[in-house]
Symmetry: C2
Subunit: 225 residues, 2 copies
DNA sequence: ACACTTTTTGTCCAGACTGGAAGAATTACA
DNA sequence: TGTAATTCTTCCAGTCTGGACAAAAAGTGT
């Protein structure tokens, strides 16, 4: 379920051809782009096919229908996202809680920049309850969120993060990074913030840490949390 | 340009009829709802008309076309929004800077709850540069944003708000309130946050103030900023 | 080289879409 | 009350939608 290739066909007798993998990848990339620009309803399968440089009936062939294509595309970016964040947590396993959280914030900001669709898709789907939204939350968001809540709780106990509902706090962090970067063009015009400038990304991450994790780690707890 | 009624016709010889005003209002409300759910491309004029309980050619009659209807609808909520925030600033003109900013945050959170379209529309339009986006920024966002930047700068000088680019800081505040509330359904599922509960709104506003305005006003500067 | 499978292409469909035309109904005002 | 402007309704044309299908092409494995 969580991997691409061999999505539509039940059990291929022969191995999947290279060109088929390429087509699927092109369709997924195009789908992410299109869906994040125009939402699910606002995107036509023909538009996706055109962006991918491919004939539109190939969508039916590879992904069965528009809904399945959406799921595959969302799965694609969200698993890459959680993979990237898990990796960051993994690499900093031995660091103290503040360093771990900071590293995660940097990872979040960078991934959100490279894939703003991540947040746009959420906003578009969050409008009204839909099977797509539910699937997305259960499959990708919940596990990662719950881990973050507890890490934040830890930081609150240490007096590093401000008090209050950690879930709320986490979502504010999430919006200050992912939500901010999703606004892209608007920020340039309205606030003279250029997210294309790599220094801006560091500035954003640094500010999030300054704002949401203002405390310092006590020397005693600096090694193990 | 900034007011509804008499949008399509050049100069009506007779005054506008009551039923016409009602129809326009119903169409505007329906349009806001529909556009915020499905984006510009994803919304059909027929859908809007159906939500408004009105025949679809009335859109042509009252607003000329889909694009003009979008502009009228956006104008509607954004001018109500800036009006609401200006009122808050006005009422607290004599208070100190922190109180003024706090009041604005409360106003922002409350308006974003009652009109989540405000933020959804921005995210949907921010995807790619569009004449609609530019118009929205120039007409409604920029004036209000610039006032906020300078108020925030003031708070930074007083050591109340964290240091850094005030424009960035302001946008984080904006996303932590408006962006958060736009996620509505998702938060309930993913983070067990119920934005329908009025206490949640207070909790959000209080947390934003705690996080973004952690300093206290110096006694000397408490009266005049 | 061959038969057989996977992948792509071209074409078609029924329904929904936008924008607009034209006439009927309603209302304002003298 | 009569009539002319305003508002609403009914229809149509041309385009786009998601999806279906057969036939062609390309690749696989023996």
């Amino acid at each position: 379920m969580s991997e691409e290739t061999t999505l539509a066909q039940p059990q291929p007798v022969r191995k999947q051809q290279q060109r088929s993998i390429v087509t699927q990848q092109k369709l997924l990339d195009a789908a992410i782009e299109a869906f994040s620009e125009n939402g699910f309803k606002g995107t036509s399968t023909r538009d996706i096919a055109a962006r991918a440089g491919v004939h539109h009936p190939l969508i039916t062939y590879h992904f069965k229908n528009k809904d399945q294509l959406w799921r595959a595309a969302a799965d694609h970016i969200f698993s890459a996202f959680t993979r990237s964040l898990s990796k960051s947590l993994e690499e900093n396993r031995n660091m103290d809680a503040k360093k771990r959280m900071s590293a995660m914030i940097y990872a979040y900001v960078n991934y959100a920049k490279s894939q703003p669709a991540l947040h746009k898709v959420m906003v578009q789907e969050a409008s009204c309850p839909s099977p797509r939204l539910e699937w997305l939350i259960d499959t990708h968001l919940k596990p990662f969120f719950e881990a973050s809540f507890s890490l934040l709780g830890e930081l609150q106990d240490l007096g590093i993060a401000p008090a209050g509902n950690p879930a709320l706090l986490f979502n504010m962090i999430r919006l200050s990074s992912g939500g901010l970067l999703a606004l892209g063009n608007e920020l340039k015009e309205s606030s003279n913030i250029d997210i294309e400038d790599p220094r801006t990304l560091d500035e954003i991450a640094a500010m999030i840490i300054r704002v949401f994790l203002p405390g310092e780690m006590p020397a005693a707890a600096a090694k193990a949390s």
